[in-house]
């Protein structure tokens, strides 16, 4: 019943519709776009370095003659996956750990919160720097896991304190008196009532993950050349942003559109889940 109602409300929400359409278009552009362009992302055109957008190179070329259109789309494939995955993992982990700690209390709470505090004091950048050389050649999914592992802690503390007040609510008590198992109460009554916070957190995490990945790549961890991501492209392009704006404008613009569409979809989802809104 709930999923059906929420889905119907989501479809009725104009923001969510635009957000979803934009996201679908971006994904389509990232994966279908390369087949349409005349160049492959590994091709180098030695006849035109740093040439502005033209009929041949739609988005211009880089310093070493790569086609900007192909490279940017290749980067976007990575960034979409990294951004969405990291956001989902980090927020999901935060919600689960926070809600379990808050709801169960006692030693469960203590152990989980110790873990959170420990991760908070560890310098995440150093850990990633130490671990990533060992992951050379391993799947980039490891990188996603690492990024997610260091972004969820603060949210989970917020979730925990909100759970503390939620668990005293009468509808939670009512569920207990119905004989519903506790993990089900957490998933069914507590986490959905935190959804506003979680959705905002997840949408913020998408952009944070893409940028964070760029920062790490810039220092030589994460996505390594010759492979590219939006982050690496923005980092490179920003150095020449005034002289050769196309190096910067296209990846940065796509990142903005990506984050914007995720935000719109998130806002719509929040409204659909929140019965108090009038959509």
């Amino acid at each position: 019943m709930r999923s059906k109602v929420v889905f119907a409300r989501l479809l009725r929400n104009r923001q969510a519709r635009y957000g979803a359409i934009a996201l679908v278009l971006l994904v389509a552009l990232a994966y279908i776009g390369p087949y349409i362009g005349p160049y492959d992302w590994t091709d180098k055109d030695f006849l035109s370095f740093l040439s502005p957008p033209s009929a041949d190179h739609w988005w211009g070329t880089t310093t070493i003659g790569q086609d900007m259109y192909a490279v940017t789309l290749r980067g976007m494939q990575k960034s979409i996956i990294i951004g969405l995955l990291v956001a989902l993992l980090a927020t999901g982990l935060a919600a689960l750990v926070g809600a379990f700690a808050g709801y169960f209390g006692g030693w469960v709470d203590k152990v989980l919160m110790w873990g959170v505090d420990l991760l908070l004091v560890l310098p995440s950048f150093l850990i990633i720097a130490i671990v990533s050389p060992r992951l050379k050649g391993a799947s980039w999914l490891w990188f996603v896991a690492l990024l997610a592992a260091f972004t969820w802690m603060i949210t989970s503390r917020v979730v925990r304190s909100m759970t503390l007040s939620l668990r005293e609510r009468e509808y939670v008590l009512a569920a207990v008196y119905m004989g519903i198992p506790r993990w089900k109460i957490i998933l069914r009554h507590i986490v959905p009532n935190l959804s506003s916070l979680l959705i905002i957190d997840a949408t913020l995490n998408v952009s944070a993950a893409v940028i964070g990945e760029a920062a790490l790549s810039f220092f030589g961890f994460g996505i390594q050349p010759p492979d590219v991501s939006l982050g690496t492209l923005i980092a490179e392009g920003s150095r020449n942003a005034t002289g050769y704006p196309w190096l910067f404008a296209f990846p940065a613009g796509l990142l903005v559109v990506l984050v914007l569409s995720v935000n719109l979809l998130g806002d719509g989802l929040r409204d659909a889940l929140d019965p108090g809104s009038n959509s």
Partner: protein, 689 residues
């Protein structure tokens, strides 16, 4: 000479919400005007508009004259001079009306100094005098206390002290006793009367409690959907209401003085202020509606004797002398089969035997140590037979809710036994535990908080069904919705889209989903408006009789209890003081606490209310962490005060146990010197019996 004159007051909020439409009244010196109406009828907004306390985006028109001087449109500086000096206001929630970081004395003194040029020490002295006037014991010491150190009743007294600090000409009391217990309410109302005598002020008393109005007010203004619909002297309104809404309101209140058959609910809900019906706003709910009612909104017209009514059929009502029960359809509630069998032969569905529940009081941040014990529930025993309703009554803090939680947890109590349907909660294994859960369900007090706001109603009701693995959930949900008087298509909506009464019905449907045998009702109607409350009470009664349920009913409203319960147990500080059949306990109460409790309840009958003598209790409930020795009630007991020293000794040393009282079949009292007194004058229909 009237102090306050309100003429054609209108308040509109952004979005075209007309909260108040054409309110006119006047208050003379020493007069009490009662304003009654359900939530959302615009009573509070009216008084806020008079005080100039509405948010700036509200559009106020009309005229408000204090001593002939127009208040509307005054600038903030001039208004501040009036507020607190000529008009003061007493709010509902006394905790949020005080600043937590200043002492009570300082805050009262501040109220004095704002309007009078007094040195600080004189103002502080005046504050102590005022606190003394409102009956706060040891006022000079208590003036140095902080708000959180005061109990609810004490805070409300301090609030009154602050309000009368500058001898105001007009006191506006907005639900001054709604948040308080009945015995405390009786005290505070007494203080208000004293305050009025001292200051000679006019009082505007806003409340939804028709009993309080009957005892306090000289004149009554009834509001509905932002408009006054009837106005007149209090006796006239109560004995001969001329507007169907007032008639319905009076017929829907359960009365503490005797039997009266099913309550008469007013169907439907008050209209939303955004989409008012074209004609009379009450027309959609009115049983006397004729086509002409939809044509235009009836004006408030004078019908003689200082009365004003807004109803086109008021002459007819006058002529035929109709009352609420004549006009509104009286619901028919099928009788119960269970009552035909004598109580002793019916199986016991719930039994509590000497149950205690103590909470440790801990101190220290790192190393916690036990510094005391809160005796929340301290050895209570009762049983409920099949098809019976036992009501647990008492003031807040007496342990009612703790008792409920102990029962609902289905775990072994610290001492004693909880037996549900013949099975001891201490000996249950996991499967039996779950099975018993489906037999014992609960309806909560606050229908807003008890339903998950993020779940559609269909899911809420289906939740217990799915948890217990029932099949054909959708069919059952439809059936349950119909059973509680809702429509199956309501299943796809969220709880927010329902009114309070409907939400409580959803709560009841959820509790009934698993076909329980015992239903625990935790103040199920106390959060509802009277006209809605009657409908829910009738529903509960009908369900009990048709489904053969047994209820454990927890309430502080003794009138509702009299209406719904078969037996009643009165609790005080974690102990049962009196238990027995409702007629015995209400008509012949033998414990001094029960007597005080019953006498504190205001009756919705001005004539009776004026002649009644109240047994006023002193002070507040003692702390359950440190209960008095012997009889727990002795510190406040009016009887204890009259006993000789030798007799008092027994109350101090020996704890009274619940003993069978007199010849009554089913009446137990825990008092060494139990003695019956009649505190409620029997109503007429009871005398006829």
């Amino acid at each position: 000479m009237s102090i306050l004159e309100v003429r054609d007051l209108n308040v509109t909020f952004p979005g075209g919400i007309e909260a108040v439409r054409g309110v006119s009244y006047e208050v003379s010196r020493g007069e009490v005007l009662g304003i009654v109406g359900e939530s959302g009828s615009g009573k509070s907004v009216t008084s806020l508009a008079i005080m100039g306390l509405l948010p700036p985006n509200a559009v106020v028109s009309g005229s408000v004259k204090l001593h002939g001087k127009e208040l509307l449109g005054l600038d903030e500086g001039k208004l501040t001079e009036v507020r607190g000096k000529s008009i003061s206001m007493i709010f509902q929630d006394p905790l949020s009306a005080f600043t937590p970081v200043y002492t009570i004395g300082d805050q009262v003194a501040e109220a004095v100094r704002v309007h009078q040029k007094l040195p600080k020490d004189k103002a502080a002295k005046r504050a102590v005098e005022l606190l003394d006037l409102v009956g706060i014991p040891h006022p000079d010491a208590r003036a140095k206390s902080f708000p959180h150190e005061f109990s609810g009743g004490m805070r409300q007294r301090a609030m009154i002290a602050m309000a009368i600090a500058n001898d105001p000409d007009l006191l506006i009391c907005d639900e001054p006793t709604t948040a308080l217990d009945v015995t405390i309410q009786a005290q505070v109302l007494e203080v208000l009367k004293t305050a009025q005598r001292e200051t000679g002020a006019g009082i505007v008393m806003i409340t939804h409690d028709l009993g309080v109005i009957a005892g306090m007010a000289d004149r009554v203004l009834v509001m509905y959907a932002g408009r006054p619909v009837e106005q007149g002297r209090v006796d006239d309104i109560y004995s001969r209401p001329r507007m169907p809404y007032t008639m319905g309101l009076l017929a829907s209140i359960p009365r503490i003085d005797g039997e009266q058959g099913p309550l008469v609910p007013i169907e439907g809900n008050p209209p939303s202020p955004v989409e008012l019906p074209p004609g009379c706003p009450f027309a959609p709910r009115c049983p006397m509606k004729v086509d002409a009612c939809d044509d235009e909104e009836p004006p408030l017209v004078e019908i003689g004797g200082g009365r004003q009514v807004a109803c086109i059929r008021s002459r007819e009502i006058e002529h035929k002398n109709l009352t609420g029960t004549d006009v509104f359809p009286v619901p028919v509630i099928p009788p119960s089969d269970a009552v035909r069998v004598p109580r002793e032969q019916r199986p016991t569905v719930l039994e509590l035997d000497d149950v205690i529940r103590h909470y440790p009081l801990m101190k220290g941040a790192v190393f916690k140590r036990r510094v005391g014990t809160v005796h929340a529930v301290d050895g209570i025993s009762f049983d409920i037979a099949q098809g019976e309703t036992l009501a647990l009554v008492g003031e807040s803090g007496c342990g009612k809710t703790t008792t409920l939680q102990q029962i609902m947890q289905l775990r072994a109590p610290e001492r004693g036994r909880v037996v549900v349907l013949g099975r001891d909660s201490a000996t249950l294994n996991k499967a039996a535990h779950k099975e018993l859960r489906s037999e014992l369900q609960i309806v909560f007090q606050d229908p807003m908080a008890a339903l998950d706001p993020r779940m559609p109603v269909g899911d809420i009701i289906a939740e217990p069904l799915r948890a217990h693995g029932r099949k054909d959930v959708a069919v059952r949900v439809d059936e349950l919705l119909r059973l509680v008087g809702l429509a199956p298509e309501h299943a796809a909506r969220y709880p927010q889209h329902f009114s309070g009464g409907q939400r409580q019905r959803i709560g009841i449907a959820r509790a009934l989903a698993l076909d329980p045998k015992v239903l625990v009702l935790d103040e199920p109607v106390s959060a509802l408006d009277v006209s809605i409350q009657a409908g829910v009470i009738n529903l509960l009664e009908r369900l009990k009789n048709t489904l053969g349920l047994s209820y454990l009913f927890v309430a502080h409203d003794l009138a509702v209890v009299r209406h719904l319960a078969d037996r009643v147990a009165v609790m005080y500080l974690g102990k049962i003081t009196e238990i027995g059949a409702v007629e015995d306990v209400y008509d012949r109460p033998a414990h001094p606490y029960t007597q005080a409790l019953l006498s504190a309840i205001p009756l919705p009958d001005p004539a009776l209310e004026r002649t009644r003598k109240r047994i006023l209790l002193d002070g507040d409930l003692p702390s359950p962490a440190d209960p008095p020795s012997g009889c727990r009630f002795r510190t406040r007991c009016p009887k204890f005060a009259r006993l000789s020293q030798a007799e008092q000794r027994r109350c101090v040393d020996e704890e009274p146990l619940v003993a069978r009282h007199a010849n009554a079949m089913d009446h137990g009292v825990a008092c060494h010197y139990a003695e019956e007194i009649e505190v409620i004058t029997a109503s007429e229909d009871q005398e006829e019996q």
